[in-house]
Symmetry: C2
Subunit: 253 residues, 2 copies
C-alpha cells in the first residue's frame, strides 16, 4: 500500500475549485477519477489547500494511498495520460504512511498577478487581474505588504461569513514587486507574493484588493496596518478576482 505525495499544476479557470462540489468539475474529483482508473478501486486524495473556483496552482500538494505497487514515474505518466492538459502532475514521491498533505504543511506560498496597462495582452488575460489605470504605486504597495509580516489577527481580511476558531495567522514574507511579462517584453506585471503558515478564506485576495487601493493612492501604505489592527472587515478593499491568484508552493518539514 504505497503512499504518494503528488505535486500538481493547474489552470483553475474551467474548475469549481480544488474541492469536490455537488455540481461542476473539481480538480480533486478528476484527480481521484484518474487515480481510480490506475488503482482499480476508489481513491481519495487530500489537498494541502482548498483553492477556490478559478484559482490556479503551480505547486499544489496532495496525498493518496494506492493498492497497486507502482513507482512514482508510473503514477505521473498514468495520471497525465488521463487528466486534461489544464491539470498536470509534476511529481509523485513515495512518502511515509503518516504523511498528511494539509496538516503536515509548514508553509504555503501564494502569488497574485496584476496587469496594470490599459490594453490587456492576449496571452496573459486568463492569469491576471486587469487594473488598467492609474499606474499603480508598487513602492507604496510593497511598504503596505511588508507591514503585514509577522503574527497577527487577520480577522479584517477574512471572507465574510467564514467563521473560524482562530483568526490569528503567521505571515513569513509579504512583498510586492514588478515582474517582466513572459512574452510582451515592454509590459510588466505587478506581483504580490506571500508566504505564511496558513491563510484564512479569501485572505490573499482581500489583502490584494486593499494593496491595490494603496497603489491607486486611495489610502496611504500605513493605513493597512491600522486596518489589520482594527479587525474591521468594512475597512479593507474589495476581494480581488480569482484569475490572478496562484498557489505556488507548499512546504513540509
Amino acid at each position: 500500500m504505497p503512499h504518494f505525495k503528488l505535486t500538481l499544476a493547474y489552470d483553475g479557470a474551467p474548475f469549481v475549485g480544488w474541492q469536490r462540489q455537488a455540481e461542476g468539475t473539481s480538480i480533486q474529483g478528476i484527480v481521484e477519477e484518474a487515480l481510480a482508473a490506475l488503482d482499480g478501486r476508489e481513491v481519495v486524495v487530500t489537498g494541502a489547500s482548498r483553492t477556490d473556483a478559478g484559482v490556479h496552482a503551480l505547486g499544489q500538494v496532495a496525498g493518496c494511498e494506492l493498492n497497486r505497487d507502482v513507482d512514482g514515474h508510473t503514477v505521473i505518466r498514468a495520471l497525465n495520460a488521463r487528466l486534461p492538459p489544464t491539470v498536470r502532475v509534476l511529481q509523485a514521491i513515495e512518502v511515509a504512511r503518516s504523511f498528511h498533505a494539509r496538516f503536515d504543511a509548514t508553509a504555503k506560498t501564494y502569488r497574485y498577478r496584476i496587469w496594470n496597462h490599459e490594453v490587456l495582452g492576449p496571452f496573459e488575460r486568463a492569469t491576471v487581474w486587469h487594473v488598467p489605470v492609474p499606474p499603480l504605486d508598487a513602492t507604496a504597495m510593497d511598504a503596505a505588504a511588508r507591514s503585514l509580516e509577522g503574527r497577527h489577527d487577520f480577522a479584517a481580511f477574512q471572507a465574510t461569513g467564514a467563521p473560524t476558531a482562530s483568526t490569528e495567522r503567521v505571515v513569513f514574507a509579504s512583498r510586492v514587486f514588478i515582474e517582466a511579462s513572459r512574452l510582451e517584453s515592454d509590459r510588466s506585471v505587478v506581483v504580490y507574493e506571500v508566504r505564511g503558515e496558513g491563510f484564512l478564506r479569501h485572505m490573499v485576495r482581500t489583502i490584494v484588493g486593499t494593496l491595490v487601493d494603496v497603489g491607486r493612492g486611495r489610502q496611504p501604505a500605513e493605513s493597512v496596518r491600522e486596518v489589520l489592527q482594527s479587525g474591521d472587515r468594512s475597512r479593507v478593499g474589495r476581494t480581488a478576482p480569482a484569475a490572478g491568484l496562484f498557489l505556488v508552493r507548499v512546504d513540509y518539514e
Copy 2:
C-alpha cells in the same frame, strides 16, 4: 483621410492566419470589420507579415486609411471594444499617406519557443512546441543558428511548393537561448530568435525543426551550414508546429 500604422498582438490559435481566406476567421478579416464599424464604410488593412494559421503576434504591423477624422487613442479604444480578447491593438499612430506596412518594413523579428520537459505546463501549452525528451543541447543549437547569419540562399529552408523569384535573404541575427518560464519558475524554455530583412514561407519553422535535430544530437551543428549551401530541402528537419511561433516586431526606417 488619416493613415494609421496599427501595432497588434494576437493569439493565433483560433484563426486561419492573418490573411483573409475563403473559409474561417482571419485576423485581417476581423480587424477590417472592426475598422468598418468605426469608419462607416469598408476599410482594407495591409499587414507587414502574412502569419500562418496558429502563429501568434506580439507586434504585427498593419496600415489602413480612414475617412473619419479620429485620433490614435480613439482608434485603439474603438477597435479593442469590438475585437475578441485574443486580438489587441497596442498602438495606432498617424503616418504619411505613402506608408506601406509590408514594403516599407526594413526588418522582422520572430521568436520560437520550445518546451523541453517531459510534463507540459498547463499555462504554456498553447504557446510552445512540446519536445519532451531528450534534453536539448542549446549550445550546439546556438552555434548552428549563428551559422545562418548573413546573406544566403535559403532555398533549402523554404516550404515545398512555394516558388518565389529569389530565395536569397539577409539574416541579421539568429540565436538560441534559454528563457525562464513566466510562471513555472523551475522550468525553462528553449528559444530561437531571428531577425532578418525578410523570410521565405515556413523558413523560421523549418530552421527550428533543423535546430531541434541538432539539439537532439541527430546532426552536428556544422551540418546546418552545409544544408544551407546544398539548397537541398530533403536535408532539413521537419517544419516545427505553428503554436510556438511569434512575430515579435517589425522595424521601419
